[in-house]
Symmetry: C4
Subunit: 129 residues, 4 copies
């Protein structure tokens, strides 16, 4: 499969209004630790330079956080892992805005293992150009 | 980060066809109490004045409920907490219509802790201008 | 609240590609019985006449099933309850197409209580006019 | 129901940015085995020829995988079952791009039974023409 037939799929502005990282987990290991993630797909032929801004209920936004999604690659990014310019507070409501210089697709997922069994949610984010 | 580069993201009319607040919870504390919420993101430079109307199976709509989402802020609003003009009945099917005077993004989430482990659902709401 | 200000929100064609009703439940009572549902919101001033067609992997479609969603009402319809022209088979993959003569909003939900704790999924359906 | 009234519903390009097949399950039997699936609905009068490409974090894409969704049929396809040209690696982040020569609707679902109770997620995929 070469790139000639790859469609230019995706958009450049995405928003996830829900955000919450529980501070507690019952699962063992990284895979089952409570986390929030955005999955980014760049099906195109050029690297996508992405900035993420976080919004809160009662303070100014944080960011921008910067990541690159390589051409023809996916990046599953945990908000838990963001450090620069500041970590994401736990047990705190937030929302996120994701802007890219190339078309991408963004899906939001949370794995919650606060109780004895895990819970999952996922939704394609809101998008526009 | 100043506001100059903030895109005008979102729409002014949103609908969530699913709604149901269980009257029972097994989780302890507010975080794990069964609840339904809408997460609203206002990434713009002006406060958003939002009205929510609730629809039922067999009675006239309730509302409007009024909330403000500040500029560059997110509001995670639990239907459980709505009081004025009337509380949301438990164990009852409802749907909601959310109208805003500024573009916003709306995501719907339910945490259900009726049984011994919690369950989660989330989806970006239906939107149009 | 009178109808003068009600926006004409929604679309007339909706599709849910996922469908599966487990034959087993561990929850007690109708609320916790495993079920698949579509939540329909008609925020408009006229009753919506809706037809549902079910698609399967290896047989011709079933339907149309007919329901009415009253003006300014919501209907949370369980596929489990459909009887005419035929019940929905359990433990069988299906998909559904929902057509309406008035704009509506459709959200898909499954509550699964096959195991000791319930699981939930929900997503706004695919729509077009 | 004959095909004369069938609307041409769906789109020809779909993307699912989230993908992850856990290698572990606690559920017994195929129904409760951890799996990721895409549900494809072809409500039209012609067979849909579909190609699926998988994207990864740190290697070139895999595929195309080829499936046919018959006219007026649904196909609930587990990524777990894909074999040709290669199986989908477990415990590995991936994303998928689904292209069709006829309009289809695609919904993404994961059933996760790693822990003692199952968890579900589902969302309509991102689409464009």
């Amino acid at each position: 499969m070469n790139g000639a037939g790859t469609p230019r799929i995706g958009r450049t502005a995405w928003a996830v209004a829900e955000g919450y990282i529980p501070s507690q987990s019952t699962g063992s290991g990284r895979a089952l630790e409570s986390h929030e993630a955005i999955c980014l797909l760049n099906a195109g032929q050029a690297d996508a330079h992405v900035t993420i801004t976080l919004y809160f209920a009662d303070r100014d936004p944080a960011g921008p956080y910067r990541v690159t999604v390589g051409a023809r690659r996916t990046l599953h990014l945990r908000f838990n892992d963001l450090r620069d310019p500041e970590p994401v507070p736990r047990d705190t409501d937030y929302a996120s805005l994701i802007l890219s210089d190339e078309p991408i697709v963004v899906q939001h997922t949370r794995l919650d293992s606060r109780q004895s069994a895990l819970a999952l949610l996922s939704t394609v984010a809101y998008s526009q150009d």
